[in-house]
């Protein structure tokens, strides 16, 4: 499904990372594999260290911390917020919505459209598309997009498929209307037949968490996890990404009329370095233009990896200039989505720690 939007822009990106950094080497003993083999994996996948929230810190806490920073520093006026989108899969509660909790916490006006979106790896692109759609309404001038994920408490530390790459983080992105803005092109595809390639079996209404669902079990590869933990069918996800993402980006070139060589940066979701390098090679773009250093330094925080990638790699440069970005997310759902747009002259583009 293709989308076209006009007169909209991103005006600021703030990434919020946990202070606690854990090195890959410090966790090798958790896995049922030889240290030598794990070290080879580290090099291939680009696992160096990841940021993990303190026990008790939730995705909503990170979002609130980021918003407070923006309010306190005069970077965002809470009365200007017409919509609050919360995108993530680790909400504080099944009900009420996290976006409503955040609205209430700050006393944001009642004329504010609060919406939670249950999306993960493609959550930044899905959130942007939703924000652009809202901005087509005359009543909506400014949207705050909150991508937040704290999945570490639901990920087994003895699961080498998931734990080394998992990271916790949040991002606040301000999306607003503007005059004479460049045309934005986007697309989304979904395939629910692959929904369980990434899943947490227990904890919902279908399979409530019980002492039985908390029992650790060993899989055929030697990983230990319970039904309360994240399950990642790594091979299936890898094959899905390599099959579906290159055609999606090729389609985005056609849709936008923008040549691949005129894209300044490819800001893609980051499950691991190996997967990204293969995507860059397949698309015929240099690996330098598609940074793979977020999973390496901070871990993969689902929909937060793309804004983190923008903040970390471009920082203030994006406050003083404008660049053509091709952004893409792919994963849980299965969902894959991409956005081609110019981003620049931002009011802020930085990383803080919580």
């Amino acid at each position: 499904m293709d989308f076209v939007f006009k007169n909209k822009r991103i005006s600021g990106i703030l990434t919020i990372l946990p202070k606690k950094a854990i090195k890959f080497e410090d966790e090798i003993e958790n896995y049922s594999f030889s240290p030598a083999k794990s070290m080879k994996l580290k090099l291939a996948m680009g696992y160096k260290e990841h940021r993990i929230a303190e026990l008790g810190q939730t995705s909503v806490d990170f979002a609130i911390y980021g918003l407070k920073y923006l309010f306190d520093n005069g970077l965002l006026n809470k009365d200007d917020i017409d919509a609050l989108l919360f995108v993530g899969q680790s909400p504080d509660y099944i009900m009420p919505p996290s976006s409503n909790i955040i609205q209430g916490h700050f006393g944001i006006k009642e004329d504010c459209f609060c919406l939670d979106i249950s999306q993960g790896c493609a959550g930044f692109e899905i959130g942007l598309i939703q924000a652009f759609m809202l901005l087509d309404q005359p009543a909506v001038k400014k949207v705050v997009l909150l991508n937040a994920e704290v999945l570490s408490p639901r990920t087994s530390r003895r699961d080498r498929n998931s734990w080394p790459l998992i990271g916790d983080a949040a991002a606040v992105t301000i999306v607003e209307e503007c005059e004479g803005g460049n045309t934005i092109y986007a697309n989304v595809k979904m395939d629910g037949t692959g929904a369980f390639a990434l899943n947490i079996p227990a904890g919902g209404f279908r399979m409530p968490s019980t002492p039985e669902t908390a029992v650790m079990e060993q899989d055929s590869a030697g990983n230990f996890r319970s039904k309360d933990n994240l399950v990642m069918q790594g091979d299936d996800v890898f094959n899905f990404v390599q099959r579906e993402v290159p055609p999606m980006i090729e389609h985005l070139y056609e849709q936008s009329g923008i040549d691949r060589n005129n894209v300044d940066w490819y800001m893609f979701h980051q499950p691991n370095k190996f997967m990204l390098n293969k995507l860059a090679d397949k698309l015929g773009v240099s690996r330098e233009k598609m940074p793979a250093n977020i999973v390496e330094n901070f871990g993969n925080a689902s929909g937060v990896t793309v804004p983190t990638c923008i903040s970390y790699n471009l920082g203030n440069k994006l406050c003083n200039s404008e660049m053509q970005l091709c952004m893409a997310g792919f994963g849980v759902g299965l969902t894959w989505s991409s956005v081609m747009m110019k981003v620049g002259n931002l009011i802020f583009n930085e990383i803080i720690e919580f």
Binding site: K37, K40, L41, A44, M45, R160, A221, G234, D235, F238, N239, V241, Q242, R243, P246, F274, M275, N277, K278, L279, D281, K282
Partner: protein, 77 residues
């Protein structure tokens, strides 16, 4: 090419004899998915290619012959 493939496989998993004929490396548990990742990196750098991501499937790494075919398909000479 076959000799180079066996050498790379042996460096990766020295505990196995990859020169034995009639073995399926995947079925025999000689290579898992993480080995395949390392193997692809080693093959890419040795042969100066980038194996297409859609070709990274277990069946393409099951035998030396399958790997040789995979390399040729991806431009190795």
């Amino acid at each position: 090419m076959k000799k180079q493939i066996v050498k790379i496989l042996t460096e990766l998993r020295p505990e196995f004899d990859f020169s034995q004929e009639g073995l399926d490396f995947i079925e025999e548990g000689m290579l898992d998915s993480f080995d395949m990742v390392n193997l692809v990196n080693d093959l890419d750098s040795t042969f100066g290619i980038s194996i297409d991501g859609v070709d990274i499937l277990p069946e393409n790494f099951a035998t030396v012959e399958a790997i040789e075919q995979l390399l040729k398909k991806n431009g190795a000479k």
